[in-house]
């Protein structure tokens, strides 16, 4: 469980390259560093629901990313706030 304020990195993983998938981690944050804002609750994994497979509950977090980091220097002081599942995050 990541606490509020924790620095995390989104895994730089591309399951799309390995076969048919349903991923809710937008391409533009893969590999990016962000900050946990809060734990939003636990929800069944959509990656499995999409294929009518049994879906385990996953932790869902609200994670903040500075715009200028994501878009190579453009966008300060704005930020992105994205719902991401815990299995896509690792400590940064």
């Amino acid at each position: 469980m990541f606490p509020a304020g924790a620095a995390v990195r989104v895994k730089n993983d591309w399951p799309e390259a390995r076969g048919p998938v349903h991923i809710r981690t937008p391409h533009y944050v893969r590999g990016q560093k962000g900050t946990i804002v809060r734990h939003l609750g636990d929800f069944p994994n959509p990656e499995d629901l999409a294929f009518a497979r049994p879906a385990a509950d996953c932790r869902l977090y609200h994670v903040a990313f500075p715009m200028e980091a994501v878009w190579d220097g453009n966008g300060a002081p704005d930020e992105l706030l994205i719902e991401l599942y815990g299995h896509w995050l690792e400590p940064a």
Partner: protein
């Protein structure tokens, strides 16, 4: 040609017929569902915003649990995804998007607007939000942070805009009348 690429109206007719034939979805249920969905509209969200502007306890409840706050105003939320509410402040302006599809707080606001579902909106919101807001002639001051909220998962998000100056002493109904759909997505701000 792939059978799925046949004429859309014919495909709908065929799917409707098969689902009815198999006892899965009936014509009556479809009609009822359309009526229910049609009854949601931005006016519902406007009522929530107006009450939040007048009643600090309701405002707090809306930020804490949007679904419960909606139900408190007789907006049916059972079986619908959880509603998250993001408040605009003098420091932060929120803008909601779903870059992956079109997730929208439909239970409260009704069908999403055409532009919300467009490739232009979905691509631009997360990379050039101020340029996007300019299409609505909305300018956010340089020292205010624009926070773009990408609805990627189970929550549906709406914005609680700031109450405009000059509305002191207004009734809830008067306040609700100036809150538009765009104000609750974040592409505009209410004005009088």
């Amino acid at each position: 040609m792939n059978i799925l690429d046949t004429d859309g109206a014919r495909l709908l007719d065929a799917v409707r017929g098969l689902l009815a034939q198999k006892g899965i979805v009936s014509a009556a249920e479809i009609a009822e569902r359309i009526a229910i969905t049609d009854s949601a509209s931005p006016g519902q969200g406007a009522r929530m915003v107006a009450k939040a502007w007048i009643d600090p306890a309701y405002r707090a409840s809306m930020l804490e649990d949007g679904s419960k706050a909606a139900e408190a105003l007789d907006i049916p939320m059972r079986g619908m995804p959880p509603l998250g509410v993001l408040e605009n402040t003098p420091e932060v302006h929120n803008l909601v998007v779903c870059t992956l599809c079109s997730c929208y707080p439909r239970a409260v606001l009704g069908y999403p607007p055409f532009w919300y579902k467009s490739a232009a909106y979905r691509s631009k919101a997360v990379r050039d939000p101020r340029g996007l807001l300019a299409e609505w002639k909305t300018t956010i001051a340089a020292d205010v942070k624009v926070r773009v909220v990408d609805s990627t998962a189970d929550y549906r998000w709406m914005v609680l805009p700031m109450r405009p100056a000059g509305t002191e002493g207004w009734t809830e109904a008067q306040l609700a009348a100036i809150v538009r759909e765009g104000d609750m997505v974040g592409v505009t701000v209410p004005s009088i």
